[in-house]
Structure formats: structure tokens, C-alpha cells
Symmetry: C2
Subunit: 747 residues, 2 copies
């Protein structure tokens, strides 16, 4: 009996133990578990398998199809073609199988400038009332695309209407120094018309710089030297025989300094928003301007009288570039002729749409990763911007399908923006940033911009806030370049462009977003949101083209892309894979894949450049850099200590508030560099590290420009301004360091 009891006792103990085990582990598997579901949900980290699957699904042929549809007609902002792309984006983002959670349009009433269809702009060579030569009004037709009545005549958007006539002079790139030299050489430029080539100075600056010298009108053209590697003949050299620009091709563009709608500074351009008067708009040319093709430019420049321009002013035309008499040679058929500009541009209010789409986050819906590109083009815009839009649509197709089939939902919210009127000065994205400034500032983790996805098919190119370098590197290591070589995007990039980092040794050379070249501007500079601009680009050993040759012309078409830029669309595919990979890591990682020590490295580099270039001169003027050095040091220390916390953090087994705390520090790091009063003359530039800079010294922009001015003038008040900018950047850096330092340390 004892034995039996023992046996039963043992059996009972075993049963008891099994009971405990079932109670402890078995029930956990079911819904009635003591471990709440959200505990597991918040511990779900980025899924590498999901990313691999995403990469595998990116389909070059889908991108090609997207591009073909997007580029059927010209779609300049607010035209019927633009409206068709709005509808197309909405249709795709609302698709029941591959669409997003929601998509909608948001309209702004913005100030745009167009040529007058009934009275085209006109450039002529005249002798009294005789017209000897007409500059061509439209680009030459090689395919039906160029014949589309919706191809806008080349013009200088926001250049004033007006009639200007005068003797022609050649002013190189239209920089201040160019006009100074020309003015000195000719003993005055009053009443002249200047012809200048693209490059070296911003479009509008070529006019703004000219006016004070008395120049009355400006022609702008693209020299074959700067864009075509010297190639000029459309018989066998230029498009449609190659990617080079045909002789009649004209780069259109926005001729204004500030981004965003000009009439509603710092306010979203709603119907009844306060608008400044047109006469109060700043940053536009006071004199008429008109862009022309190099065929016509050659006809003018090669006839110019006067002495020979310097070597650096010479281009690819088979003649010597002279300054101009002013005017033409005696021996020319244009002898004694004026050049006449008749510009009829008209500006007015138009409704421009952003198309927005969203996939809501599961765990942190109030954290946004924004991915965007503009939708409007100058003509068909196959590269600019439709290559980027085609890529974005492929990314949203794959992710939309995952969401619709219940296979995935991002941890954070994804917002996709198809911006309007970028070509007129980043207007759609800027108005969006102005309207939602608070919400976006509070919640946005990052902005990814893929505008022109593929300039050329050689290598990845990325510019970004330094915190994002690491995630871009991670993504680019995981994606292979097109073709038979099994080499990563990262390694290929490093081959094409690299630098030596004090921390990492040789790495790909990521750029910084110091200008306002695309829609990242409002995010990076105005809102202080860590931004990225990603594209595929040139092999610089093969071309010196300033930009892809068909840029902003009637030749930027599907055919051009399909035959010359990216046959097979594998570079597009590579960009989609890389940018999508970055997007997913930002969306799904528990800890944001941002690295503040990379920011520290950049600040140290900027500091070193400042010290080398400015410290002695500043000291001579009683201004010392010690506080700036200390600020950079404190930033480095704070970044290191935060990264120590990150690497020692067991985020999976901790309160999600701990990860959130670190993520807030990382998310808000770029915000800490904002100072809305630092640059009163630079519209919406608030980031004291990345604001635009005139000085060629690559360092803190406020300091660089102020010191340059003070060194030139020697004035006490200019040195005071240098001191002011030194204090501004010092406070910004030490303020940013405070945000990185552990909560548990002295404020």
C-alpha cells in the first residue's frame, strides 16, 4: 500500500508538475495569457526577412510601366497634364489591392509664372526696325512628344515681363565677379544685353547680379562644354543619337531666390491667406531674362566683337568667346545690331495640389516617416521628376499589398507626398510644411526625398543629415548593383566617391543638404527634420556634364530614359530597393537607426575647417573660438554616452518608454539646431549647420559668410556679426548636446 501510495504520490507529483507547466506556459500561448498582447507587440523589431522579401519584390518592369504612364503628356504644375497625374496617383494609392490606408489631395493657391501662349516670348537681332535674326521659339522636333501643344515655350519663370534692347555682351556665368571684370574691361555695361551660360551662379542671380551694372536684359544658355562633354551635332552626336542635348534644347527653370509661395511667406497659401503685394516680392530679377538653346547662343557669341574673354570663360563653340564690343564685330552680318528681348511672362494665382497617402503605424502611429517627391515637371519630365515618382509608386505598390493582405503593418506611420509645383520653387512641399509645422515638427522621424531617381546608371548618390548616414550605409550594403557583378551598392558607391573618416576609415562620400535643390528643403532647413536625398548618378570618369543633358528640356522623355539613361530600368530598381530599405528600417526598428556620433564627426570636421581658416583672424579681432570648441567636445561626449546607453539597452525586455526616450532624442536632434532668427535674410533657412552658404569654406554657414564679409570689409560691425554667428552656432551645438545627454545628468 505504501508502495502504491508512493507510486500514486509520484504520479500525482508528475501530474501536478505538468499542471504547473501547462498553467505557466500553456495558457500564455492563448488569449487569456497574463502577458498582455501589447507587451509582445511593442517588442516587435524590424524584420530582416521582410526587408529581403521587399527587395526581391521590387520589379523593374513595374517601374517602367509607371514611368510610361506618368510621362504620356507634359505635366507642368496646375496644367491639365498635372491634373491627370493627380488622378493617377490617387487611383493607385486608393487601389483596393495595392493601395494605401488612405489617400487625398490638398490644394494651395499659389503664385506661378507662365509665358503667354498668345504672345510668345521673342528674342531677335535687330538693326533699327529690321529684324535680322529670330531666336527659335520652340525646341526642334525629333519625335511627336516635342510637338505636343502643351510643351511650354522655354522661359524664365518669375522673370519680369518687359522689352529690352541693347548691344550684346558675353558675361560668362553671370557671377558678380564676371560682371565686375566685364564692366571694368568695357568701361561700363549700361544699356547692354548680357548672354551668360548656365552654371556657377543660381539662375536668378545671373539677372540680379547684372542689373546693378546697368545691364537691361539677360539671355541664358547651356554651353556644350558644360553639359555635352563638348558634343554639338544632332546629326550624329546628340539626342536622339545619345543622351546629349540637341542644339535647340533649352533648360527651363524657376528664376527666384526663395523657396515656397512668394506671396505668403511663412503662411500656407490658402484662398484667403494674407498675401504680400507683388511689388514687395524679393529675390527675383529686376530685368527681363530668357533662356535659349546653344545653337542660337553660338550664332550670337561667335559674332561678338571686343577683346577675347579669359580662358575660363571659353566654351565649346568653334570660335573665340569675346566680351562683345559691346555688340557684334564689324565684319559680322550683325554689325551694329542690337539684341532685343520681348518677354510676356504673366504671373498669377493657381491652385496646385499635393497628393498625400498614408499607411498608419501599429505601435507608434504618432511617429511619421515621410517619403516624397514632386509630381510636376517642366515638360514630360521623365527623369525630373517622374523617375522618382515611378520608384515611389513601386514602393507603395509592394507595401500597400502587404498591408491589404494583412501581412504587415509598420510600427510607425508612413506618409507619402506627391508634391505640386516644385519646379516653381519647391512650393507644394513648402506650403505643406508651413501648414502642418507643429504636427510635423512634433512627430516626424525623417524625410526621404527621391526626386530624380536616376540621373545616370553608375552609382548611388546620397545627401543627408549625418545622423542618417548609418542607415543609408546599412541599406546600401544589403542591395546589389544591377548587372552580373555581385557587388553591393555600398561598395560600388565607395569605388565612385569616397572619403576617409576618422572613425571608419574609407567610406562612401555622403553629401550634406546645404542647399534648397529639391523638396527636402522645407523639411531639413525649415522644420529641422533629418532628411535624405537619394538617387543614382554619373560615372564622373566618363562625363563632366553639369547635370543630365536633357534636364528641363523637351527631350526629357520616356524614350530618352528607356534608351539612354536606364535601359532595363535596373538603376531605378536599385534606387527603389535602397530607398525602400531605408524607409522600412526607419519605420520598423524599435530603436531608430540614427547615429548621433556621425553627427559629432561632422561637427568636428566643420570645427577643424573653421579653426584652420578663421581662428587667427578672429583672434586678431578679439574673438575667441574656445566656447565653440567646448561645445563640439560636449556634443561628442553626449553622443558617445547616448550610444553607450543604446548599445547596453535591452530594449526587448524593457518598458517601451525607454526606447521611446532614446528615439525622441534621436528624432529631435536636428530640431535642436534650428534658430529662426539666425538668418533673417535667408527665407525659411533655420538650421544653423545646414543653411545655404556663399563662402566656399565648407563649415558653419553663418560663421563662414560673416567672417568672409568681415575679412573683405575690415569693418568693426562686420567682425561683431562674425562674433554673433559664432555665439549662435556655439549655443546651437551645446543646446543639441544637452538634448543628447542622459536624462539623469545635470541639465
Amino acid at each position: 500500500m505504501l508502495k502504491k501510495l508512493l507510486l500514486f504520490g509520484l504520479a500525482g507529483a508528475a501530474v501536478f508538475t505538468v499542471g504547473i507547466l501547462i498553467g505557466h506556459f500553456g495558457i500564455e500561448q492563448k488569449n487569456s495569457t497574463p502577458l498582455p498582447e501589447w507587451v509582445q507587440q511593442v517588442a516587435q523589431d524590424v524584420d530582416e526577412n521582410f526587408i529581403e522579401d521587399f527587395i526581391a519584390q521590387v520589379d523593374s518592369m513595374q517601374i517602367k510601366d509607371n514611368l510610361e504612364i506618368l510621362t504620356r503628356v507634359p505635366h507642368m504644375a496646375t496644367t491639365a497634364g498635372d491634373e491627370a497625374t493627380v488622378e493617377f496617383m490617387l487611383k493607385r494609392w486608393r487601389d483596393k489591392d495595392t493601395g494605401l490606408d488612405a489617400a487625398w489631395r490638398e490644394d494651395y493657391t499659389v503664385y506661378l509664372s507662365f509665358p503667354d501662349k498668345t504672345k510668345p516670348n521673342n528674342v531677335t537681332v535687330v538693326r533699327g526696325s529690321d529684324v535680322l535674326y529670330h531666336i527659335r521659339e520652340k525646341e526642334k522636333t525629333y519625335f511627336p512628344e516635342q510637338d505636343d501643344p502643351e510643351v511650354v515655350q522655354p522661359y524664365a519663370a518669375f522673370g519680369p515681363a518687359g522689352n529690352a534692347e541693347g548691344k550684346l555682351v558675353y558675361a560668362n556665368q553671370g557671377k558678380v565677379s564676371d560682371y565686375e571684370l566685364l564692366n571694368k574691361t568695357l568701361g561700363g555695361l549700361t544699356g547692354t544685353i548680357a548672354i551668360v551660360r548656365y552654371g556657377g551662379a543660381g539662375r536668378v542671380d545671373k539677372g540680379i547680379n547684372a542689373a546693378p551694372f546697368g545691364v537691361v536684359g539677360v539671355l541664358v544658355y547651356t554651353d556644350p562644354h558644360d553639359i555635352n562633354d563638348g558634343k554639338m551635332s544632332d546629326v550624329n552626336e546628340t539626342y536622339p543619337h545619345s543622351w546629349y542635348l540637341p542644339p535647340s534644347g533649352v533648360e527651363r527653370g524657376s528664376f527666384k531666390t526663395n523657396f515656397g509661395d512668394q506671396l505668403t511667406p511663412y503662411l500656407a497659401a490658402k484662398k484667403d491667406t494674407y498675401r504680400i503685394e507683388e511689388k514687395d516680392i524679393t529675390g527675383v530679377s529686376p530685368i527681363p531674362m530668357q533662356p535659349i538653346g546653344f545653337e542660337d547662343a553660338q550664332m550670337l557669341i561667335c559674332e561678338l566683337a571686343g577683346s577675347e574673354a579669359p580662358e575660363s570663360w571659353q566654351g565649346s563653340f568653334p570660335c573665340k568667346y569675346n566680351f562683345g564690343g559691346p555688340g557684334f564685330k564689324n565684319t559680322s552680318r550683325f554689325n551694329d545690331c542690337d539684341v532685343k528681348l520681348d518677354v510676356y511672362n504673366k504671373a498669377g494665382l493657381k491652385d496646385s495640389a499635393n497628393v498625400m497617402g498614408v499607411i498608419w503605424g501599429s505601435v507608434e502611429p504618432d511617429r511619421y516617416v515621410i517619403y516624397g517627391n514632386h509630381r510636376d515637371s517642366w515638360v514630360h519630365g521623365a527623369i525630373d521628376p517622374s523617375s522618382g515618382t515611378a520608384v515611389m509608386l513601386e514602393i507603395t505598390r509592394i507595401l500597400g499589398q502587404k498591408v491589404k493582405t494583412g501581412k504587415w503593418r509598420p510600427r510607425r506611420t508612413l506618409i507619402f507626398g506627391s508634391w505640386g509645383a516644385e519646379e516653381f520653387g519647391l512650393i507644394g512641399s513648402a506650403e505643406y510644411a508651413e501648414e502642418y509645422i507643429s504636427k510635423l515638427s512634433q512627430r516626424t522621424v525623417a524625410y526621404i526625398n527621391v526626386d530624380i531617381a536616376v540621373f545616370a546608371n553608375a552609382t548611388l548618390r546620397a545627401s543627408a543629415s549625418p545622423v542618417a548616414q548609418d542607415v543609408i550605409f546599412t541599406a546600401s550594403k544589403q542591395v546589389k548593383i544591377p548587372g552580373p557583378e555581385s557587388i553591393s551598392v555600398y561598395n560600388n558607391w565607395m569605388k565612385h566617391s569616397n572619403r576617409t573618416s576618422p572613425t571608419y576609415g574609407v567610406i562612401p562620400n555622403m553629401g550634406y543638404l546645404t542647399g534648397a535643390g529639391s523638396d527636402y528643403a522645407a523639411f531639413m532647413h525649415y522644420l529641422g527634420i533629418s532628411s535624405m536625398d537619394i538617387a543614382y548618378t554619373y560615372d564622373r570618369s566618363k562625363t563632366s556634364a553639369r547635370i543630365y543633358p536633357a534636364y528641363h528640356t523637351a527631350y526629357d522623355t520616356f524614350d530618352y530614359v528607356n534608351r539612354f539613361i536606364d535601359p532595363g530600368f535596373t538603376s531605378h530598381q536599385t534606387v527603389a530597393r535602397t530607398a525602400g530599405n531605408v524607409l522600412l528600417r526607419l519605420a520598423d526598428s524599435i530603436l531608430l537607426p540614427f547615429k548621433c556620433s556621425d553627427y559629432a564627426e561632422t561637427l568636428e570636421q566643420y570645427l577643424n575647417v573653421s579653426v584652420q581658416n578663421f581662428e587667427a583672424e578672429l583672434k586678431n579681432n578679439g574673438i575667441f573660438m574656445d566656447s565653440l570648441k567646448e561645445a563640439v567636445k560636449s556634443f561628442q561626449a553626449a553622443a558617445q554616452s547616448l550610444e553607450k546607453i543604446i548599445s547596453s539597452s535591452d530594449v526587448l525586455n524593457n518598458s517601451p518608454l525607454k526606447a521611446r526616450r532614446i528615439n525622441d532624442q534621436l528624432m529631435l536632434l536636428d530640431r535642436a539646431f534650428l534658430n529662426p532668427l539666425a538668418f533673417p535674410d535667408k527665407y525659411a533657412f533655420r538650421h544653423v549647420i545646414w543653411a545655404s552658404r556663399s563662402s566656399s569654406v565648407a563649415t558653419f554657414p553663418g560663421v563662414a559668410d560673416a567672417v568672409a564679409k568681415a575679412m573683405k570689409s575690415g569693418l568693426k560691425q562686420d567682425w561683431a556679426q562674425a562674433h554673433k554667428h559664432l555665439s549662435i552656432v556655439t549655443q546651437a551645438i551645446s543646446g543639441a548636446a544637452h538634448t543628447l545627454s542622459e536624462a539623469h545628468s545635470a541639465l
Copy 2:
């Protein structure tokens, strides 16, 4: 056997079940539980018992002791007395039994103005070189305190040094309209000295307004009508017989417009920070000023010639207040005399300290509740500011003890600030805000200011951002007023001051923080941090005193408080209980006790006032208020929807990220109203709802002031500015509404 087996089977089943139960529930109780500790920790809500215990522990005698120590010597900013209070605060906050987690000092090098001890300011009545009368240099001594050599001579801080002589005129309160009337009446004020009384206009404005009329110096005094309910005699009426100001008492003060250090706008005043030149300081008087006692003022005013000033200009002196001839009556012994000001104020850089203390948060250390008060006084400063400091020290004593004994740690971090140089224009708090702008903006939940804790012993008075109304009400309902009546602070407050709310009916009348009266300014206006200012104040049926009579004089002493303001220190105790209660609720509640619908009610009220006062005139000028109305409506809707989410949220059984999301919306609500470019002429005022306002119409300040200007001038450009401010506030309100709307809704 079968039966046995069945029995054993049943027993086994029972044992098995018990096993399951132990496995399921039993193990949860222990440390090896599957429910991580942090899950319980994050679900710990505010503890009402703890608050009751806190209330019980607030000890009036401790507060009295604190005050006695704090007021032993004069402690004007940067003097030896100030340094002694720095040491005292540090000692208390570092006490091993009752101190905080950490305490430290932070010094700024700031621009302060003092009289010259070796050459006191001097006001005389002169006839040629004969001096007929000397205004007294120091206040009369009733107790040894007034004889302390560290009692600073009355002076107008930041008023310029200079010698001014001229005929005396009486200019009422020194408002622009006062000088206009006087100027018209006398046919010119060039070369005169004006005497004006405190009230009606800011201190410095009395000088700034005077100068354009040719006035060369200004005397300021406190009329017994405005401060003493007419009482004048120190034989039996004024202190030391009552709380009323003795005849020789002089209100000192800061005579400047902008808050913060004047030489380092928007930059923390470190040693080598960029400083503007002294000549570029704005917002100071161009002419010498000097404050005097009413005994001397009576001597001058009652001798003035000229016609009788209007009824509203008359005060309590037993004579008619005339305008002045200019100058004195023929019949006066001062006939033909000038009044002469010799002001020797000197300004320069001094090091001023903030003392900071902290209790680190357990669950959300990166969320800060800041509680502060300034430490510096003009003389002994028993009420201003030491009553507030005595209260703060009692709060930190109780909470410090709880932390040191391991009984409590707040969910969020508590920061205590003892600000320096407030009396010189809120300098310590402003420099702190400038230095830590990013960290504070990102993390601060609220700022609680208790400067003068007890003006008088009648009732609570609170001014705050509307989101904080609810938590102040909750706290004040829980605390009883002093004395035998068992009535809540809330009900007593409602008895003294109330309003009818559309939502709640009759409630206490909480004020708004529309000015820069104390250290909340940098938090509320510059950083957009929801702020509160809490005190005990007058029974308005018993006194019309502009402020407590000893304000900024040598009579604001411990004796004055102990005998007249708060014998027994029970009003101090009540303020400590109420403000401490607010602090604890903000620190410990899982969901922040902020109510955005109360903000909506305020915005609606402001909108209604704007519509009533401005809509017709705006319409006449082609400006419409529809968008503003829509913005307010969208804010109301968003606030309601957020409160629905809050009330339906089961925060205890949800991811803490859900509460954090809502808390971020509430914490950042005031931030959404910031616009750093809205008021370019108002230093550091960025909050478009609460910025200072000149117009008497209590509504959106930018709109109110711009419309007032436009209505006066009728100029088109002034109406354009009104439109601009309408757009600015519209965008701010709709932007704030966006931040409140659910994450899962269109942006």
C-alpha cells in the same frame, strides 16, 4: 480497484488543477513572473493617499522659519546677501535627509544697473545755485532693517545717468495720452521735469513716453490713493501701524521694456557670448528718471502752479493737483524754482546665479515638471520673492524626505529653479530658457511659478494657460482655506472672483498669462510651455491697493509679513498645499491632467470678442474672418475627439505608448501656438494667443493691436497688417488643432 483508481484519478485531477492554478497565478506573484516588473511600474497612477499625506505635512512654522532665514539681510541680485541665499538654497537642497537628488548653481554674466554708492542720486528744488529742498535719499528707519547699509538707495534701474533741470509739471500716470493732454494744455513741455505716479503705464514707459515731448527728466512716486486706500500718516496709519506704505517708502524697479539680459538677445549670457553695444539697447528711457516717496511728492505737487488737472488725475494729497505752470505757484516758497535730477546710475556686467535642484523621474525621467521662483529681492524682499521661496523650500523638504527615505519617486522628473536677477527683468529664468531652449521645449510638461506667494490672505489667485485650469481647480478643491470654516480653496476663490463658463456655469475666474510679470514669461511666451502663476491675494472689497503697499520698498520685511500679511503663515501653507498638489498631479498622473477643451473654450471666447469688435470693420476693408472661425471650430472638434479618446482609454491595461502619445499631444499643445516671427518688435514673445497686447480688447493680441492701429490710421498698409495677423492666428489655431486630432485621421 476501479473505484480506487477513479478516486486517485479525481485526486490527480484536483492536484493537476491546483498545479495549473499555481502555475497560472502563483508564479505571477513572485519575481520570476512572466509579467515584467516594468509593466506594473508604468501602470502606477497618481496616488491620492500620497497627496493627502503631502497636504497634511505642509507645516506653516517651517515656512515661517524659511522666511526668517531668507530675509535676514537685503539680497539684491549679485550682492553678498544674494550669494548667502545661493548657499542657503544649495545647503537645503543638498541636505542628506530632506534634500533633492541633485542641486547645483549656474552662473550667467548679465548686464545690471545700480546706483553709485559713493555718489547717491540726488533730487533737489533749486533756484539758480541755491538748493531749497532735498528729496530724501533713503527711506525712514522704523526698525534696524531699514538701517542696513545694504539697503539700496531707491533708483530707476536701467534709467540713464544724467543731470536734468527744469520746471516741474504733473503728468498723471505718464501715459502717452497724459503727456498729450499736458502738452496741449501748457503749449509745450520742452525742458520740463515731469512728476508722475505709478500705475496705468509700465515704469519705463513713463520715461519713453515723455521724451518725445521734450521732457528732460521724470520723477515717479506712489500716490496714497493708489496703494494706501488714501492713508498717509505714519503716526497712526501706515507701517509699522498697518500694512500701508509709510510716507517715505519708495517703489524701486526695473525700468526696461524687454525681459532677459539686454546685451545678449536670444543668447545665453556666457562670459564670451556676443554682446550688442550698450548704445543699441532698446526699450529703455532716454531721459533720467528717479522714484521718490509720496511725502516728497506731496511737497512738490501741492506747490504746482497752472490749471487744475482733471478729476481722474487727482490723488489723495490734501490739495488740488495742478498741471504745473510749468513750475510752482508764485505764492509758493518754490516760486520760480527748478527741479533738478542728478542721477549717477551705473550699469555693467555681473555674475548672477540660478540655483537648480532636481528629483529624477522613475518611469518618464525625460518629462520635466518645472517649479520655480526668483531668489533676488530689491531689499529684504520678505514678500517679493521670499514668500514664494519659503513655500518652495517647504515643498522640497517634504518631497525630498520622501525620496531620501525611499517612500516615493515621481513618475516624471521635477526640476526646481531658484532664479537670479528677476527684479532686473526676469533675467535668470530667461537666460536659462535661452541656453536650454531645445531640451526644455522637447521635454517640459509644465512650469509652475510661485513668486510672491502671499500678497494678502483672502483668496487664491491663479493665472495659467487654459489647459491647466482643470488641474488647478482639482487641487484647490482638495485643499481647505485657513481658519475654522471648512471651506475649500476653490469655493472661497469662487466667492471672491468668478465668471460664467459656457461649459461649467459659474467657476473661479482664472486669469491668463498675457504679460511678463514674473519668471513664467520665458516659459510661456518664449518656449510655449504651459505655465501657471499661483498666489494668495486680496479681498477686493477691503482694499483697492494697486499692489501690497510695501512692494519693492525697505518695508517688505519679515516683521511686515509676520504682523500684517500672514500672521500664523497659514496662507503660505495654503499656497504650498495647492501648488504642491498641482505639482504632484502633473508629476505622477499617467495621463497628464491637462484639458484641451478648456483651451477651446478660451479660443471661442477670444473669437467672439474679435467678431463683435472687429468683423464689421474688417469686412469694410475686404478682410474676412471665416477662416478664423473655421480654425476655432476645428480646434473644438479636435479637442472633443481627443477627450473622447482619453475618457474611453483604459490606460492601465494598454501599452504605455498610448498614454505617452496622448500626453505628448497635451504637453505640446501650447508649443503649437508659437510663431517666432509674429511679433518682431516684442522681444521673445512668440505665443500668438498670449503675447502682450496694447489694445484693451481682450482677444488675439496680434489682431487686436493691428486692427486698433488700422482703425486709427485708416491706412491700407495697416489693414494689410491686420489681415496678416488674422492669417497668423488662424494658421496657429488650425495647426494646433492638427496636433490634437487623432493620429488615425487625415493630416
